[in-house]
Each structure stands twice: as C-alpha cells, then as structure tokens.
C-alpha cells in the first residue's frame, strides 16, 4: 500500500462534477417520481373515493350516493368536484330513491392520547345524529379504541338528539357524555366503562362540531334537498 493510493478519494473534486452529479441525479429522481405518480394516481384516487364513500355510507344508513358540498363565504353550500383542499366540506348522502338520507360531517378534537378524527352522519330533517365512524384514533387499544367497536356505545349514535333551539342558532341541549348506565335523555351519550375519557372526548367533539354545523345545515337544507333532481341522471 502506498501513500498516494490511500490518499485518493481524499482529494477535493472540482465543483462542476458536484453540480453535475447533484443536478443530474435530481432530475433523474424527479422523473422517476413523476412517472410513478402519474401511474398510480388514478388507482389511488379511486381507492380514496371508495374509502370515503364507504365511511359516508356507514354513517348515513341507507345512502347509496355521495355529493360533496363546500361551505361558501356567504354561509351557503355549493356542490364541488375533486378533492377538497382548504375548503370546509360536508358530504350529502342520498338513498336509492334519491332522497337526502343525511349529511356526513368530519370532526376532530383532542382524545385521550392524541387527536381523534371522526365522521358522523346528521339528518337535518330529523335533527338527529344517525351514524358515527372513527377515521383516526390513537386511543389505547383495548380501552379507548372501544369507541370504534363497542356496540353499546355505537348504539348511542343511531338517533342522538341534536334538536336546535327555537331560533335555530344553537342546540337546545348540548350533546354530553354521561357515566355508563346513567343515560336518561336522548341527547346524552352513554359512556364506556374504562374509557370514560375517550367517550367524553367523542361527546365533546361531536357537540362542538354539531353546534357549528347544525344551524348552517338546517338553514341550507333546501340546497341539499333541492339538488336531488339536478344531480339525478
């Protein structure tokens, strides 16, 4: 072994080489990525749509068709295509007869461990929450994740009373979680023993969300029902 051999590679190379290497590889990578993106995009879009649809249909019993609406600056709703970016959206579900079956709303808030993301179905006609689905949760498996699995708990959401007050600007009775076995009123959520905190979090999240959305949705109910015909093919 001699000195020059070993010292090779320690020599500074010239800047052009470095530029060439980095930019060249950068371009190559960009190419690779774009190509694979283009190829997979349709499939992924389809997957996502299916997943969303599944969730929406789960929280709106009887729904077979979904239309996305976005909230405009004038507090009205208009139909939108494509993926929502910054807009606040809700998903209206229509049944086989093309009647409005309910509106699915996303809501999120602090759970026991981290942020909980929920989707719930709201029926503006009945003024009830008619379905509930957990989109994202880091609650403790075995405890907190019962909010996704516990049938007693899920039963709360097949008709949770969210009546508006007379002026239709706020809820008449706030949605509230109560201790397991002490549910007395239709606007109360019967908690899960051992997961009181997660249950309460669900209650809070829904309460906050529905207090905001229910008046809006209720006032614009015609937008959703009126659409029935137009979106029919």
């Amino acid at each position: 072994m001699n000195q020059t051999d070993l010292l090779q590679g320690q020599k500074p190379s010239n800047s052009i080489h470095m530029f060439r290497a980095m930019v060249g590889i950068g371009l190559l990578c960009a190419l690779l990525i774009v190509v694979s993106y283009e190829y997979t995009l349709p499939v992924i879009k389809h997957n996502k749509a299916v997943a969303l649809e599944k969730a929406v249909f789960q929280v709106i019993p009887g729904a077979v068709k979904r239309v996305t609406y976005k909230l405009t600056d004038q507090n009205t709703f208009e139909e939108m295509q494509g993926e929502p970016q910054k807009e606040q959206v809700v998903y209206a579900g229509y049944d086989a007869n093309n009647q409005l079956a309910g509106i699915a709303v996303e809501a999120s808030g602090q759970g026991f461990q981290d942020v909980l993301k929920l989707l719930y179905g709201y029926s503006p006609t009945d003024q009830k929450i008619i379905g509930f689905y957990v989109l994202e949760s880091k609650e403790t498996p075995g405890l907190g994740d019962k909010i996704e699995k516990d049938n007693d708990f899920l039963a709360n959401f097949s008709g949770l009373d969210v009546l508006l007050s007379d002026d239709a600007n706020a809820l008449k009775n706030p949605v509230k979680s109560v201790k397991h076995g002490t549910k007395e009123n239709p606007w109360e959520i019967d908690s899960i023993t051992g997961a009181t905190i997660s249950s309460k979090a669900v209650g809070n999240i829904i309460n906050n969300s529905i207090s905001y959305w229910a008046p809006l949705l209720y006032k614009n109910i015609s937008t959703f029902t009126g659409n029935q015909v137009s979106s029919l093919e």
């Binding site: 026991f112 403790t140 075995g142 405890l143 201790k179 051992g194 009181t196 905190i197």
Partner: protein, 340 residues
C-alpha cells in the same frame, strides 16, 4: 504468654460500627408494613389476602430463582425483596386476578431490579415498575375496584381473583369507584375522615392513611427512612392544591388530595425507596417537590384520575440528574460548583 503470640487480625479503621445493617433496615420496613397489610385484609377480605401472598411469593421466588440461575448467592435474605413484594401487592386492586399478580411480581423483580444489577442498583422502584407494566398490560383489570367492607368478604373470593391464567377476568359484584375517579368524573369529594381511616375503596394498601403514617413514623423514629421525602411531597401537594382550590373550588381541596389514592402509600413507602431517590438533603426536597407537583398536575389536568405511580417513576428517572446537579457545598470551599 501465649495469647500475645496469636495471629492478629488487621483491618482498616474504623473498628466499630453503628450496628444498623441493611437487612435490619429492610426487616423493619416489613414490620412497618404489617399493620397496613392487615388492614388491607380486614377491609377487602380473602381476595386481598390472596393477592398479597401471591405478590410476595412471586417476588421472592423470582429473586431466588434468578440468583440461582446466574450462580449468585441468593439475596432473598436481605429482606428487600419482601418489601418489594408486599408493596407491589398493596398497590393492586384487592380483586386483581392472581395470575396477573404473579406475572407482575416476576416483572417487578426481573425487569425492575435484577436486570439493573440487583439491590442498590435499581434505578426505578421495582414494585412500581411491576405495577406500571400491569397497568399498561391490563388497564381494565387494574382500574376495576372492589368495594371495601362488603359483608361476604371473608366467606367468598371475588370471581376475578381466581381467573384462569391468561384469561380475561369476569367481574361479578358491582364494582366500586375510588374517591379519585368519583372526583375526576363527578367532582364529588369523599369525606376526609373516611379517607383518613381507610373506609373507602381503592388499592389494597392505600386506603388507610392513618396506618401508613404510623408505619412511616416508626421508620423515621428508627432513622430508617428519610422523612424529608414524604414531607416535601405532602408540602408541595398541599401548597399546590391549596392554591388551585382557592382559585377555583372545582379543584379538589388539599386534605382530599393528600388523603386520597395512593399518595400516602406512595409518599411514605415508595418514594422513600432510597435506592431510586437522590441522596443529598436538598436533592431529596427537590425530588419530593417534583413528585408532589406531578401528582397534582396529573390529577387535576391529566387524563387519568391518579398519578402517584407515574410521578414517582418519573422522579426516579430524574434522581441521577438531581444528584448530579445538587451537590452540597463541600466544607472549606466557597461555591457549590467548585470543581478542582
């Protein structure tokens, strides 16, 4: 004169010793825990007795077997493992399934103590390591409480206690609620005198503040326990919760804070585990204050009703740092930080 031709022994000074030995200290801690254990059995009945026995047996057995496996002399004789077992048992719900108790005992000793090098090296309180693992493994079982002083407690054993190993426990009786969870979720405080005398529900050993304090007082009197640790925990909890309670009476009052949950047992017997706590007087005050503060924070703002275990474990993790940072001023030096 033959005795002058005897071979002398030579050893380094001092040639006398105070005569208090480690095994003696440990034995006395066991004595101090006996009234608490008896009360636990009295309040919760046969199930609690079984839990305590299983806890001690599993700990002692594990320690002995590990020593045998690693070709060391068994260290069961120094009694420290008996304390670990007893305290571990006392922190569990009285109706806790025995197989889980056994599992936790093995974990407490193997993971909490042995793997760190045994007596004197465990950086965390072994009993609490055992409990923390159980709490994370079986959160439902460990938060399901048996009511105290049920009438049939000496004639029947809770069905959950004898759950078949690895199976989910089934609960028969109406489960009780601890004063803390009632506080947390319904904002109702239990009566102070009940808390003090131990007439509430909770872990086997945590309910009677009176007996715990008596045991602690005995150890302080025998100079076998560092009184500063419970003192600083009590002080910090009382001050902090006092302030909060005056600001907003929704927050629990100091007397409730001090007497409810595992605070008494934790402060007197578990935070005082000298191995896992700092060694200098000032360091110990800081350690206690850290525990006290964290207990209040968890109880008041946290998701869990009780935080003593987490507080002590957290402070355990801090104690090497406390010892690093807090060093008494050495005689004849001017600053705390002087390093030659």
């Amino acid at each position: 004169m033959s005795s002058l031709n005897k071979t002398l022994e030579i050893k380094t000074s001092p040639h006398i010793a105070r005569g208090v030995s480690t095994d003696m200290i440990m034995r006395n801690v066991v004595y101090a825990l006996i009234p608490v254990s008896i009360f636990a059995v009295y309040a919760f009945g046969l199930s609690a007795l079984l839990v305590l026995i299983t806890a001690v047996v599993s700990c002692v057995l594990t320690e002995h077997l590990l020593c045998v496996l690693t070709h060391k002399q068994s260290t069961v004789g120094d009694w420290s493992i008996t304390i670990t077992g007893l305290l571990f048992g006392l922190t569990l719900p009285p109706n806790f399934p025995l197989w889980m108790v056994f599992f936790g005992g093995v974990i407490a000793v193997a993971l909490g103590k042995f793997i760190f090098g045994g007596l004197g090296y465990n950086t965390f309180n072994p009993a609490l390591v055992g409990r923390a693992v159980l709490q994370a493994s079986f959160p439902v079982a460990i938060t399901t409480w048996h009511p105290a002083f049920s009438t049939d407690r000496f004639s029947t054993i809770a069905s959950s206690t004898l759950t078949f190993p690895f199976m989910e426990p089934v609960y028969d009786t109406v489960s009780g609620a601890t004063p803390l969870s009632v506080m947390k979720f319904e904002h109702i405080a239990a009566k102070t005198s009940d808390l003090f005398m131990g007439l509430t529900t909770g872990s086997s050993g945590e309910t009677s503040a009176l007996l715990i304090l008596l045991g602690g007082a005995y150890l302080v009197y025998r100079k076998m326990m560092n009184w500063r640790i419970p003192a600083s925990i009590f002080l910090s909890v009382a001050i902090l919760s006092g302030i909060l309670h005056t600001i907003n009476s929704q927050y629990p009052a100091p007397d409730f804070m001090l007497l409810s949950g595992g605070l008494m047992l934790g402060a007197v017997f578990m935070a005082t585990d000298m191995v896992a706590s700092p060694i200098t007087p000032i360091g110990v005050w800081i350690y206690g204050a850290l525990i006290g503060t964290m207990i209040v924070v968890i109880r008041v703002w946290g998701g869990l009703p009780e935080g003593v275990m987490y507080a002590i474990l957290f402070a355990n993790a801090f104690s090497p740092q406390i010892d690093n940072l807090i060093r008494p001023r050495v005689y004849g030096t001017s600053s705390r930080w002087s390093r030659t």
